[in-house]
């Protein structure tokens, strides 16, 4: 094993070790992935929109809304957090015709920070 030959080398080693142990994580909730996928073109109408976030979310202040091309909210307004996965938010949809839909989300992570965003998906004719 190579020895640490100088105090400077030892300090660098210690710093590198501390930083490696510390790791990297995140505080705000961002979209990890979604179903339908962001920007997806799909053949069959989905029964719901699911978004997995990078952090646990507060369901009381988190929501997903889905709009059609005319800007009408078409989801069933039953947005809920998954019972088992606290990072997953779901809203159910009625039977949708072909077209492009916009998904808007606003969530509050458990450390109280809020984030928001949107994406679209298209159901092919």
């Amino acid at each position: 094993m190579k020895t640490l030959q100088s105090p400077f080398a030892f300090m660098r080693f210690t710093l590198a070790l501390i930083l490696a142990l510390a790791g990297i994580a995140s505080a705000h909730a961002f979209v990890d992935h979604a179903d339908p996928k962001v920007g997806a073109q799909i053949d069959a109408a989905p029964a719901d929109v699911k978004i997995w976030f990078t952090q646990q979310i507060e369901p009381a202040f988190s929501k997903i809304r889905v709009f059609d091309a005319e800007g009408r909210q078409i989801d069933n307004k039953d947005c809920r957090q998954d019972k088992d996965d606290k990072k997953l938010l779901i809203v159910s949809l009625p039977k949708l015709p072909a077209g492009t839909y916009k998904v808007e989300w606003r969530v509050v992570s458990i450390d109280t920070h809020h984030t928001s965003g949107d994406f679209k998906f298209t159901i092919k004719p």
Binding site: L21, S26, D111
Partner: protein
Amino acid sequence: MDTLDAMTALFACTRAIHMGSCLLAMAVFFFDRFVARPHDRHWPGIARGLLMFALPVALLSGAVWFTCVAITMSGLPPGEALQWENLTMVWRETQFGHLWEVRAILYLGCAVISPIAIALRPGSTMRVGLSWLGLIVNASLVASLAWAGHGRFGESGSHLACDALHLLISAVWPVGLLPYAMLLAKFRADDADQKWISAWRLTRRVSAVSLVSVILLTATGILNSWPLVGSFSALFSTRYGQVLLLKIAIFFSMIALGGVNLLYLMPHMPHGGATDHGPLPRRMLSWLQLNVGAEIVLGIAVMLAVGLLGMLMPAVEHLLMHHHH
């Protein structure tokens, strides 16, 4: 949230004031158990005064903090966000609300135990027991703050524990400098022959705990900050990194002042005899008081920086977000 609007500034100040007051209440009990001596006749008065200031401020700032979170969580204008329905929703249905519930109970414990403990006769068994209890309850109130900020993040228990430890140590130093400065001022004003030796002994005890605290604060500070910063370049290119750099710079200025106290002023203070009333010890004591005063002012600046850091998007996420855009 990456712009410094009025709401952010208010929230950051509230966080700083709440953290500072909770830390001060804990510092009083740490000082009572580990630094002050039962025969320090000035200490009970100072402790009482500090608690009478810290506990009401902690209550008020805690309530304002909750209100600020209710506004930001709901995304509603303040007038609508402060409706009873929204406030109860935050209190009952969010993890932050549950945390504040627990903290309200802890606060109640502090508010009941603290004044009784300090009012009892110094050195009595009851006083010692309640003072330990006061230290434990106040320390719990301080440690619980880790759940209210970026300590939650990453769902890592070790990060949370490290954040709690960082908070607890900062109650010892630099917040503990406030009771020290007040006791030092009282000693100086004394007519007793023993005042120099009392001041020296007090300073020696404070130096010992401060030295250990600074080492632990540095270690826990690095462990806490790195996951939120992610790279050295982010220290300079993001607002979070810049505020953190400012905090580190102030922290090292405080260490430099503490170093002067430890390495230069303390050895020059009279500690062998009780009757040295020459101009040198007076000058040294004035200098020491000035340095400690400067450290306290810098400590307040650190607290404000910490309040702001809790509001800003961590550097690592800021870069991630811009990368996605």
